[in-house]
Symmetry: C2
Subunit: 300 residues, 2 copies
DNA sequence: CTCCATGATACCTCCAGGGTATGGATGACG
DNA sequence: CGTCATCCATACCCTGGAGGTATCATGGAG
């Protein structure tokens, strides 16, 4: 499969007529017909229903069309941005993060760095394990996660430890208490993120399991916002790191847990033994302020 | 430019050695060398610095690498999802939305529809104008926006009107008041979204301008979360539709405006004169409940 | 029933992508 | 400092497949 196929497909999907599409693409109809067919063969699904009076998109074809447009747009945008970057002599700084660290002050780091006009920031949502790989390959320069990883080429700094909190629907029996895990285990759980694993979800499950508590998972969610909506809908309760409590929402209350030491660290990973670049130094300075703010409880 | 180029580039960027990369790709080194060069020519930027001891990514190359990985991943994911869709005989339902309507109950519609196991939901962030085009081409089946558009093939239903609110940092002089626009104009503004225009940002500016008020824009932001972080940092204040107040956040208070009639509608667009499909009927039913909840102030 | 628009098939052509051979540059090493 | 090893670039050849032309098959419109 090549971009050519996608480009052809898009035009055909818009025209729904091979002859017209071929004209638009400045080519003859038979080769276009063949390329489309070839692509269908490669995917292993019919994208069009053929008739004597033109084509019609199948459901799979509609779906493919939607995403093909997005892909082609991204390709164009990437090329354009790369050209700009090359001309402007800016430098790239990549930050990897696991979703659960992105509700606190990290967005502020991103904002500050974006304002530097000599740096092109690239964000990548990566698991902690992926971050190690991405650091080594130079894909990112800094990673934020919650898991300690032992790797000779990567050093991790513990920025701070965060207590876990329970997110409960308003009016829940345990609201306004500091419940134990045993108490929480009585209620169905909204697990998140469901993808990708392993994640906070497994950590949560592990907490209960290690105490011999059995939990029922009412629903899985991929994103925090969804999980909170589910909690507000009284479908279940969920555990979140403390910084999430900044994301307030009608119908949701956060309570600390009675069990002490239920914390989740936030770790910053960098390549070991590398002289910090000017941008890295700036990032470190900003980070220091943010961590200090966090420790002192000040905001932002 | 073809996907082949991107695939080659990725391997080379990882190996940083043409000979090894070629071996990994099961091809000889010279053609690989040529393809890379050809792509650099097409982009018009050097992606690698060549030396006798291998290659090094330029800043532009690093950036390109990052995004190339994402593109290739998306291609694979799209093909896989299309196959699944074709096998499962599910049907696609596309929803377009402008970002500013996505903080209220719309996520619930999405969640409900996702749970139907005969529908593959596709979400697309589109401007209202793009939504009309997307509806006609069948790219989406339902659109949510804030602008009325006159088009013979599209019908719009006004779901409800939303008052605008001001988001202020905690302790702001105007907090706990219902300020007039003139009062608000005294303070610097955080404008959002900065991209794509026209948007809520222009609506906000227009409100002030039409009253002959001059505002200073302290900062632009692309996303709500960023805008709110900026407001909390006391960089400025901003105007948001009412449903945003659900997104609570430490350091932020929302106040209604004294000026009456400052509302922003939420419109649902559909193709005109089309018999509603089973999924459309389900969507309409869910939507009705959500709108009723909204009107009655209940949650969710 | 006829016509014609439209997609499919058959077959040809030619270019570009891939291969082989080799040159040239540069860091490693004794 | 000379030699070697490594690695990318260049030159040239070959072949597969993308695209073209001619034509067939099909089915809805009138």
């Amino acid at each position: 499969m090549e971009l050519r196929h996608l480009r052809y497909f898009c035009v055909v999907a818009e025209e729904l007529n091979l002859t017209r599409a071929a004209a638009k693409l400045h080519m003859a109809q038979p080769p276009l017909s063949r390329q489309i067919k070839q692509m269908e063969g490669e995917i292993g699904a019919y994208l069009f229903e053929r008739s004597a009076r033109g084509l019609r998109l199948t459901p799979a074809g509609q779906f493919f069309h939607e995403h093909t447009l997005q892909i082609l747009e991204k390709v164009d945008a990437t090329v354009a941005a790369t050209q700009r970057l090359a001309r402007s002599k800016r430098v790239m700084f990549g930050i990897g993060f696991v979703p659960s660290v992105f509700y606190g002050q990290l967005p502020l780091l991103v904002r500050e760095l974006r304002q530097k006009d000599n740096v092109e920031l690239v964000l990548a949502e990566l698991t902690t394990v992926q971050q190690v790989q991405a650091l080594k390959s130079g894909r990112i320069d800094m990673g934020f996660g919650r898991m300690r990883i032992d790797d000779p080429d990567v050093e991790q700094e513990n920025l701070f430890d965060e207590p876990l909190m329970a997110a409960l629907p308003e009016g829940h029996p345990l609201a306004e208490t500091t419940p134990t895990l045993a108490q929480l285990a009585e209620y169905p759980l909204v697990l998140f993120p469901a993808q990708p694993r392993p994640s906070l979800a497994d950590m949560t499950l592990g907490l209960f399991r290690r105490r011999g508590l059995k939990v029922t998972v009412a629903q899985e969610a991929n994103e925090l916002q969804t999980a909170l909506a589910l909690v507000a809908s009284e479908i279940g309760i969920t555990l979140v790191p403390e910084q999430v409590k900044r994301v307030r929402r009608d119908g949701i209350v956060y309570v600390y847990l009675a069990a002490p030491g239920l914390t989740s660290p936030v770790l910053c990973s960098r390549r070991k033994g590398e002289a910090p670049s000017p941008i890295m130094q700036e990032a470190n300075a900003i980070l220091e302020v943010l961590v200090e703010n966090r420790r002192s409880g000040r905001y932002p």
